[in-house]
């Protein structure tokens, strides 16, 4: 079974207000894709954490949202991209409670627990790319 993107939307993340817009756009798509209310809430929360990371640690970037079909299930996929400094030690950054900033350190590790699919591609000096996705049941 292959996943075909049905629609896709690109949002810049350069201000506080953009984080709110990403949340609302993800919520809209998740409702359309018929995710359960809890799964919607989890996905939007994860997107909120990651959008804020993109803004604060990545120095801004963008989110690409898409709805995908996979057999009977529909899903929402969100990709966050920035050209910031990247994360030097990913294992450390994925640990609960670890933070380079003033947060609670739950952003990355927490977001991973909230979604079905999580992938991250980063390294010193080459920015960060995080993809999350959740599917209807």
């Amino acid at each position: 079974m292959t996943a075909d993107p049905v629609t896709s939307e690109r949002l810049a993340i350069t201000t506080d207000g953009d984080v709110v817009r990403v949340r609302q756009a993800v919520r809209g798509l998740a409702q359309g894709a018929k995710l359960s209310l809890v799964d919607q809430t989890k996905l939007v929360t994860a997107a909120s954490e990651l959008a804020r990371n993109t803004l604060i640690y990545g120095g801004g970037g963008e989110a690409v949202l898409s709805v995908e079909a996979n057999g009977r299930r529909t899903g929402v996929r969100v990709e966050f991209r920035d050209d910031g400094p990247g994360i030097p030690d990913l294992d450390l950054a994925m640990t609960d409670g670890w933070t380079s900033g003033s947060g609670l350190g739950l952003g990355l590790s927490g977001a991973r627990r909230l979604v079905e699919h999580f992938e991250i591609d980063t390294g010193p000096g080459r920015g960060t790319r995080v993809v999350i996705a959740s599917w209807s049941r």
Binding site: V20, R27, T41, G103, L104, L106, A111, R113, L114
Partner: protein, 135 residues
Amino acid sequence: MDSVPILKIGSTLLVSIQVDLQDQSALQLQEDLAERITQTGARGVLIDISGLEIVDSFIGRMLSSIAGISRVLDATTVVVGMRPAVAITMVELGLSFDGVRTALDVEKGLRLLQPDGEDTAPEQLLLELAPDAPA
């Protein structure tokens, strides 16, 4: 940027968050509340979050901070109306609400903020506590 109104009812400050807050607005609310508690000598802060669709780590931290600040200023904070999906997500995210009291709705929250015997006059209280108080 939207600012969240703070209402005062008796000795309680009431905040109802109805919109998706920007991080800046959340920080502003935290400052405003600290200001209002000292200004009014409020003993309780009631925050209604039934309008919130998510509580992420930022909002979670704001709520914990407000509770901590009120405690230092001798006031109790109660967060009310958290939606089930939000609660489940917070637990999964690993957020805890240390030092924050919670209630299902505004009414039950207000009840929590009314300490036993608060309405009893101080003299009456002293009489009751006296070992050989006259009947």
